[in-house]
């Protein structure tokens, strides 16, 4: 059972289901436990480098800190909350503090699930799987692939425009307003040539007999096996075990639809 070889659509579905389940819980213990368990699963079942994981994870750590301090600065204060610290306009209550920490941990638990997907999934296989398992129209899927292949071309074109500007002495920017205008000078030609290229690509696809018909064969078949569904069960199980443990410890809090 290797995560890298699992069906991308089912993997995506499993992660979405777990994230939705996790967002029902409002206590710190549930996300913390599922964060730890998800990381364990990622490294036991997935073939990924630890360095890459840390690199992609660090922005989420930053985001979690932002969540915590925003909710500490501007907390919801319900009547009956016990105030532990008060200074100028900042009021920190025990309940508010716990909620802030759980928000931060929620970001981290989402991140661990997302990384499980991002680091073990090949993008083209993901599209093929969406087409073969989720009935995504080939018209859309192959258009996305065509567009995806344009990225390096667009980068080359950007270099050409920059050189052209430089050679004519038009590349200099001094004020902030100049910089904004500069963006337009790059963006519009890049978009225009992208659209022209897209039209040519569409003609090429049609001339080679691409109809976008759903009844087609695939060079690469992406299959679904029992192991894929096992992953779905495993991820849901992780959330439920975390919530159950949290309940045993007396922390479990559900989102009650507060506005």
């Amino acid at each position: 059972m290797l995560l890298n070889k699992m069906n991308p659509s089912i993997k995506a579905l499993s992660i979405l289901v777990s994230i939705l389940l996790l967002s029902i819980f409002f206590d710190p213990v549930t996300p913390l436990l599922s964060f730890v368990l998800t990381i364990a699963i990622t490294f036991i079942l997935g073939k990924i480098s630890f360095k890459n994981w840390i690199l992609l994870f660090s922005p989420f750590l930053f985001m979690a800190i932002v969540y915590v301090w925003s909710s500490l600065m501007f907390p919801r204060v319900d009547p009956g909350d016990s105030i532990i610290w008060e200074w100028w306009f900042i009021t920190i209550t025990a309940e508010g503090f716990q909620r802030s920490i759980s928000l931060g941990l929620r970001v981290l638990s989402f991140a661990s699930l997302s990384l499980l997907f991002a680091l073990t999934t090949n993008p083209i296989n993901f599209l093929l799987s969406l087409m073969q398992q989720c009935r995504l129209s080939p018209k859309i899927a192959y258009s996305i692939m065509a567009g995806y292949q344009f990225l390096p071309l667009i980068k080359d074109e950007f270099e050409i425009i920059r050189s052209a500007h430089r050679i004519r002495g038009a590349g200099r920017t001094e004020t902030f307003l100049d910089k904004i205008k500069q963006i337009k000078k790059y963006a519009i030609p890049l978009l225009a040539s992208g659209i022209r290229k897209a039209e040519r690509t569409a003609i090429a696809m049609e001339s080679k007999g691409f109809t976008g018909d759903r009844n087609r064969e695939f060079y690469k078949e992406i299959s679904v096996s029992k192991r894929d569904w096992l992953l779905l069960c495993l991820l849901i199980f992780i959330v439920l075990v975390s919530a159950f443990t949290s309940h045993k410890l007396g922390y479990l809090t559900l989102y009650k639809g507060e506005l």
């Binding site: 967002s23 992609l56 994870f57 925003s70 909710s71 600065m73 995806y148 897209a198 039209e199 690509t201």
Partner: protein, 198 residues
């Protein structure tokens, strides 16, 4: 939904989504800087930029589904490029796109004037905020702060998605690249009328 879409339109839609998918990722960095300075509301200041492809695609192609499809594809591209937010971004893309689509649907996909584009940007603001409220657990924040976040995002959607989207599309139409699309045809007709009256 795709039955009356030409392949040409779908590919152009995808390319727009690809370009803006990359831009969306860049703006995530800008958002992180703003968030560092202002707290969570920092994202809301520039949130509108993340809806812009809906407005541009719908304004150029003018077919039902353009707004939601382009936003969903842009989100998919972000995931394909290795954005660590993962598959949940695609769901967010669908939800944002639906907000914009609702505004176009309300005019039966016939009216593409400025105020409809602005309303579409605001529509995305509303749906994305509801989604963010649930997923981000905004209920833990003070109601005053959440209200401020909402209105900042609404304004951002109106300006950065609605108005900026219209401006970019109109500039594109002037290059002639959109001549085979409704917006390009409209722009050419307007220009001919100007020439005749001049």
């Amino acid at each position: 939904m795709l039955a009356n879409w030409k392949l040409r339109e779908v590919v152009v839609l995808s390319v727009l989504a690809v370009v803006f998918g990359v831009i969306y990722l860049l703006f995530l960095q800008i958002g992180n800087v703003l968030v560092g300075m202002f707290g969570l509301i920092g994202y809301d200041l520039i949130f509108g930029i993340w809806f812009i492809v809906s407005i541009i695609a719908a304004y150029i192609i003018r077919k039902p589904g353009a707004a939601v499809l382009s936003e969903t594809i842009a989100a998919t591209i972000e995931v394909m490029l290795g954005n660590a937010v993962g598959p949940r971004l695609i769901l967010a893309g669908i939800i944002q796109g639906l907000g914009a689509e609702a505004a176009f649907a309300a005019t039966k996909w016939k009216n593409y004037s400025t105020w409809v584009l602005v309303a579409a940007g605001m529509g995305s603001s509303i749906t994305s905020f509801i989604w963010g409220y649930f997923l981000g657990g905004f209920a833990a924040l003070s109601p005053g702060y959440v209200t401020a976040m909402f209105f900042v995002r609404l304004a951002s959607g109106a300006i950065l998605a609605g108005l900026l989207g219209k401006y970019i599309s109109d500039s594109l139409a002037k290059t002639g690249a959109l001549n085979s699309f409704p917006l390009g045809k409209e722009a050419r007709k307007a220009k001919q009328n100007d020439d005749i009256s001049a």
